[in-house]
Amino acid sequence: MNSDSLGPALADTPAKFQLTPKDSDTGELDGDLLEVSMGPHHPSTHGVFRMDVVLDGERIVKLKPVFGYLHRNHEKIAEGTSYLASIPYTDRLDYFNSMTNNWAYCLSVEKLAGLQVPERAEYIRVITAELSRLQNHASLLGFLMHDMGTMGTPLMYAFREREKILDLFESLSGSRMMCNYHRFGGCRVDLPPGWLDAAKKVVTEFPRFLDEFENLLTTNEIVMARSQGVGVLPKELAVNASVTGPMLRASGVNYDIRKVDCYGIYERFPFRVPLGDHGDVYDRYMLRILEMRESLKILEPALRDIPDGPIVDPKAKQRGLKPKPGEAYGRIEAPKGELGFYLISDGSTNPYRYRVRPPSLINLTILEDMCLGHTVADAVIVLGSVDIVLGEVDR
């Protein structure tokens, strides 16, 4: 492969900066630069993800994210199946947050077919989504600390809390991670008896975990030294790269779809949107801590005020749903950012076009800009702070 075929951006880079065309079998070191392929089998790439990095000493001169190892044709499969049959597939996108994936997809179909959601189902959706956010952020911070080299202690603390929430999901939907719970115009089953009390207990106990976690790590000098000023993502770059979620807010942009779109019933809850000023790894860490605290402010009134009533719109047809021809884009604030589903209906039982807007993938595209000039050790924690799940990146 010659340099011309790599496109205009790479045409004028010297040959030694180029990544793929090397005869990497012998692993010859070319000049002063070292080309290392981190991944797809690497303990810190959070899945089958590869970073082609060019190192000058340990400084990163060039970094190319390579993904696609987990591609499984999600969007094309969804175009060949009925609307209902795609819900279990959405579980497998961001497999940490199947609840929010379900919700985003159901929201799109509801827009497409013009369905209404009963009050109780809206509350259940908010509760499951915020619980999902809690366990996602907690385990992400655990993984981030693991990338910083804590031997998994914070990770185990976070997983202890995550287990409690997964237990709730299991008793609600029958599955811990692949919940397959939301339906068009509502939810699949009603809450089992005693579920609300169990959820209230988890929510009231959660601040204790957060305080413990913060006491151990937030002002730890090594954590601060490792993460402050590392992987800075400026505001303008974040907006231009269409970064969303906690990562965007860590760069100081006030954009939370729960506030912007007010989908569901989020306008009823008194939660605030925390913002960072530096856009570095430490801000992304703190933003997630603060967002968990805000999620608790949503969960408490939601668990208290949830009304009785039907959990699914009786007019909503699940099997053999045929929306009128048209298009719809439904988006929610998933724990990782804006998760959207774009659907085009041609009036048949299958969507004509089905497209996912995956927050992990789009947040990941900016990785090189955040890592340049930093060391390998920094690249690992910058990647950790982006919060990716490869199931969603590759689809």
């Binding site: 303990p43 693991h146 185990m156 601060m224 030294a225 913002l275 703190m286």
Partner: protein
């Protein structure tokens, strides 16, 4: 000759050596010492790995190994067997000879350091006049082994790990040596046995005269242990291994028994460094309190060793890893000035004993501790001037 518990092993060795003809006795004596060290510390390695996994497990809300044998006590045996029967892979492009020699070089240099450590009263295998010097000289050879492993493996992660390792080990050798220099200066001898004997008195008749109970000794001990953690690649200085960054650093291409040898070498290095810390600062095999003098001296040595091991495990379970440039900054801008200051303070302590200060021992303590605390605060602030906790704002409405 009466056999006391304290001199049990010494008497045993004398008895065994006595069975042999005169010309063979020196050789037998050496062989006995060597095999005793190999057996004891080999067993200690097995115990330490189990203890570490159990301890880390408890810190992480889990049980640790508990399936093999009662309470998982046979886990080290199972691990050892697994390591023995595993395939030994040598990469195609590796330098086969150097790749083979690296773990041996590590283990040999680490084991040599044990020759001068006094494990109990009359239990120093070789009482060299320059014992401290010998210890650091053979300890310095571990860098070579790390570099051999990294270079011969012909793997980029190995190379990165080896470069990190060499830079780190050489940097931390300096504060390690200088922090022990204060002890050498105060005792006036490089012999480890003499250093231990200098700590065999008791203050006020009950508190052991360990160097760690003086300002310079306490600071020296902490500095020494910090540098020792870095020397033995322990968290938070496990940068050459850097599991989440460069996978296993210089050990990436090692498998089976050679990997086990590396592991053994690292643990033995940690024990040796702890043993030296005990000898220099914690009173060696002496009892810390006079009323505990009846406990055999070797039991004190190994008891203190386990205590330091627990500290290492605790640190590993709690602290994140530093970055290599921060590690270098820490070594050169914090540890080194502190150790140099500590030598001056040791001198001050020595001369202040002769001055008739108002308030006596308390004033002497404050006089010597104040500069160290001031330097600690000032150097610590200067190390990370831009690092501080932050406050966060919330979006309007």
């Amino acid at each position: 000759m009466t056999i006391t518990a304290d001199q049990l092993f010494v008497s045993l060795k004398h008895a065994i050596v006595g069975w042999f003809p005169m010309f063979a006795q020196p050789l037998v004596s050496i062989l006995l010492s060597v095999s005793a060290i190999l057996l004891t510390f080999g067993l200690l390695f097995a115990i330490a790995t189990l203890l570490e996994r159990k301890g880390l497990g408890r810190m992480q809300n889990r049980y640790g190994p508990n399936r093999v044998g009662p309470f998982g006590l046979l886990q080290p045996v199972a691990d050892g067997l697994k390591m023995l029967v595993k395939e030994d892979i040598i990469p195609r492009h590796a330098d086969r000879v150097v790749h083979f020699l690296a773990p041996i070089a590590l283990l040999a240099s680490v084991l040599l350091a044990y020759a001068v450590l006094p494990f109990g009263r009359n239990m120093a295998p070789a009482d060299l006049d320059a014992g401290v010097l010998f210890f650091f000289a053979v300890g310095g050879a571990t860098e070579l082994a790390v570099f051999m492993a990294g270079w011969a493996s012909h793997n980029k992660y190995s190379l990165l790990g080896a470069m990190r390792g060499v830079a780190q080990l050489i940097s931390y050798e300096v504060p390690l040596v200088i922090s022990s220099l204060a002890v050498v200066m105060m005792v006036g001898s490089l012999s480890l046995v003499k250093i231990v004997e200098s700590q065999s008195d008791f203050h006020w008749g009950w508190l052991g005269a360990c160097h760690v109970f003086t300002p310079w000794g306490l600071v020296g001990f902490i500095l020494f242990m910090t540098a020792a953690a870095a020397e033995s690649n322990r968290s938070p200085f496990d940068i050459p291994e850097g599991e989440s960054e460069i996978i296993a650093g210089h050990m990436v291409e090692y498998s089976g028994f050679k990997y086990a040898l590396f592991f053994l070498g690292e643990y033995l290095g940690m024990f040796a460094a702890s043993g030296l810390a005990i000898t220099l600062f914690l009173g060696g095999y002496n009892a810390p309190f006079s009323f505990l003098n009846w406990v055999p001296s070797w039991a004190w040595f190994f008891g203190k060793l386990f205590a330091l091991l627990a500290v290492f495990i605790w640190l590993r379970g709690t602290l994140p890893r530093l970055r290599s440039d921060q590690l270098m900054n820490f070594a050169w801008k914090f540890l080194l000035p502190m150790t140099l200051l500590n030598i001056a303070i040791a001198g001050l302590w020595r001369y202040a004993a002769a001055w008739s200060l108002p308030g006596g021992a308390m004033t002497r303590w404050i006089l010597c501790a104040a500069p160290l605390v001031a330097a600690y605060v000032w150097l610590g602030r200067a190390l990370h001037p831009h690092i501080k906790p932050r406050t966060y704002r919330f979006a309007e409405a």
